[in-house]
Amino acid sequence: MNIGGRIKTIFSLIGHFLSPSKWVLIPMLIILLFAGILLWLTNGLSYIAPFVYSLF
């Protein structure tokens, strides 16, 4: 895994949400990132449901 590349992705993601109109989403994004890291470390959920694309 290219750690440098992954860090660039995190910075790009933060950059995407830094626009003032998107600040309201930042707390949720932080929770999402934190939970995501936990899920990644614990091998998380893998079930894919039929309407998964409409929601996320």
Partner: protein, 570 residues
């Protein structure tokens, strides 16, 4: 002069496409390689296959374009989770897992697994990929472009204007108002699998009447500007990933259909579901015709290109073509998400200064069949093999004798249709052939129709229409002439429509020869052509897939290029 790889992935039908110096070199859906129907995983194998076909090393690729922007998508997901909280709280962990687990890292994943520098990987947007795949593959110099699907990053419907090398965004309808998701929700209600059963609903609709228009007027509102909104109380796809529709829909239309129950269209219960399917189809067609009109009016063009999963609705395509003129409508054959890979590759290629591709003439963009490998494997399995001096002649003899023949030729198809590269061919005259195929080979619902392939210059003698821009790709339907229905029972649907494929020497030489031979023998330049796959399987791609299919199904003859394989002696 650039080598560009386009990738679509993570939702359904992932794919890879390769464009070199503005020419479409190869395009492959991941499902054909992985053998997992509608495979949505990142298409590394498909990407490696297109590169290896073109003998391109990963380090020689100038640009990889992913077909959508995962950050924009994440933003829509977050906004939607907030908007629908607390109903969405149960989906929160899954959303986290899905987004953070894979989707936002797509640039890194592609770079690491394909061994291509991260700086060479970029994003475009979902609907732009679709629009590009339609317009830049079309024969039009300028055209309106209509994209209709479930949802991209945030748009569900968008209108574009293409002119030469340029594609300009005009306007869109955002999530959650979506024709694709309306159709998908009703597909689930009718007991079919979402993302794989929508075409079954379309086939079923011909058996019903649009008796539920009043009920549907509560579900969907047509606005004065020809756009639409859904009444969201009937749907749940923005809070629930399982069903797509809510309890209110069952209160309005009655209980959902049990998906495990076999279909009996003579029963009152299933007639009701057919009527609901017919109403859904009519409403969908009505909205698409309005959107098509709107796209033409806004752009001032007389041409229209369409893409997005909803553009796979061939019945609706036929109605739109009737409205705007058959040679003014082009549908990119892989109109669903797989097509986004092709669109994104073309976008990247044009951005790097290459010309747009020449118009798409046929769909043989996959890997070639390895005839020697098939022959060796067949011999190892104890099957008999024979070198044919004239495969077209042999196939026509078998068709005349009402045999069902598996036929493999050249590179496999791009998109969901078998167009003569990986096909099952049969005599179109007998209804029994349709039943045999539905029950014993394809093992699918008995109401499902089969499609014919015909010599283009004979088309108007048997169908109400001439070859057009969609018939080479089976992207539309035509009515069978009334006096020909008796001769074409196996390929005529209950409403007398047929998803006809037209062939000429330019788009498929061997299939063209086969049809000429069949015409001499039977007086009909037509053959039933259905996909070479079993139930819930992707269409056959390789030699191994072909043999596996052949051994597992009651078909006696398989012709691979000039090799005939039969089960004699087994």
């Amino acid at each position: 002069m650039a080598i560009v790889l386009g990738i679509s992935a993570y939702y359904h039908d992932s794919a890879a496409a390769l464009v070199i110096d503005g020419n479409i070199i190869a395009a492959i859906s991941q499902e054909r390689i992985s053998r997992i129907k509608n495979d949505s995983t990142i298409p590394i194998e498909a990407a490696k296959s297109v590169l290896s076909f073109a003998r391109i090393k990963p380090e020689d690729v100038d640009l990889v374009v992913f077909y959508e922007n995962p950050f924009n998508k994440l933003e829509r997901v977050l906004v939607n989770l907030l908007r629908t909280f607390p109903r969405s709280y149960r989906q929160f962990p899954r959303a986290i897992s899905s987004q953070i687990g894979s989707k936002i890292w797509v640039k890194d994943t592609l770079s690491e697994r394909l061994k291509i520098k991260r700086e060479k990987v970029s994003f475009t947007t979902h609907h732009k990929s679709h629009a590009a795949s339609a317009f830049f593959c079309s024969p039009f110099r300028e055209s309106a472009v209509l994209v209709v699907d479930g949802v991209g990053e945030e748009d569900t419907t968008s209108i574009w204007y293409g002119n030469g090398q340029n594609l300009k965004f005009i306007q869109s309808i955002p999530f959650p108002h979506s024709i694709g998701l309306l159709y998908a929700g009703l597909t689930a209600y009718l007991g079919f699998e979402v993302n794989n059963g929508e075409y079954k609903v379309m086939g079923l609709s011909a058996y019903g009447s649009a008796k539920y228009l009043d009920e549907f007027s509560k579900i969907i509102n047509i606005e004065n500007d020809e756009s639409f909104t859904l009444n969201l109380k009937y749907f749940s796809y923005f809070t629930d990933t399982e069903t797509g529709f809510g309890p209110a829909l069952e209160k309005l239309l009655g209980p959902k259909r049990n998906k495990n129950k076999p279909w009996n269209l003579n029963s009152e219960e299933d007639k009701r579901y057919a009527d609901i399917a017919a109403t859904l189809q009519q409403v969908t067609e009505d909205i698409l015709k309005r959107l098509a009109n709107r796209a033409l009016k806004i752009t001032g063009s007389e041409n229209l290109c369409m893409a997005g999963g909803v553009a796979l609705n061939v019945v609706a395509n036929g109605k739109i073509a009737m409205q705007i003129g058959k040679n003014h409508l082009f549908i990119q054959p892989a109109a669903g998400d797989a097509g986004g890979a092709l669109g994104s590759a073309i976008i990247g290629s044009i951005e790097l200064g290459d010309k747009r591709p020449t118009p798409l003439k046929n769909c043989a963009l996959g890997l070639p069949i390895e005839t020697d490998k098939v022959k060796k494997m067949a011999t190892d399995l104890g099957l008999s093999t024979k070198l044919l001096s004239d495969p077209a002649q042999t196939i026509s003899e078998k068709i005349e004798a009402n045999e069902i023949v598996c036929f493999l030729h050249g590179r496999f198809e791009w998109g969901p249709r078998s167009l003569g590269q990986r096909s099952i061919l049969a005599n179109p005259k007998l209804e029994e052939t349709k039943d045999e195929l539905n029950l014993n080979i394809k093992k699918r619902e008995n109401f499902r129709p089969f499609a014919p392939v015909i010599l283009g210059d004979h088309m108007d003698k048997h169908f109400e229409g001439q070859p057009d821009l969609m018939t080479p790709f089976m992207s539309t339907v035509h009515h069978v002439k009334k006096n020909k229905v008796e001769q074409l029972k196996a390929v005529t649907h209950i409403d007398r429509t047929s998803r006809v494929q037209s062939v000429d020497e330019n788009n498929s030489k061997l299939l063209n020869n086969i049809l000429h031979c069949v015409n001499k023998k039977t007086g009909l330049p037509i053959v039933l052509n259905t996909s070479l796959n079993g139930p819930n399987e992707p269409i056959v791609a390789s030699a191994q897939d072909a043999l596996l299919f052949f051994m597992r199904h009651p078909v006696e003859t398989m012709i691979v290029e000039d090799q005939m394989i039969s089960k004699k002696g087994l």
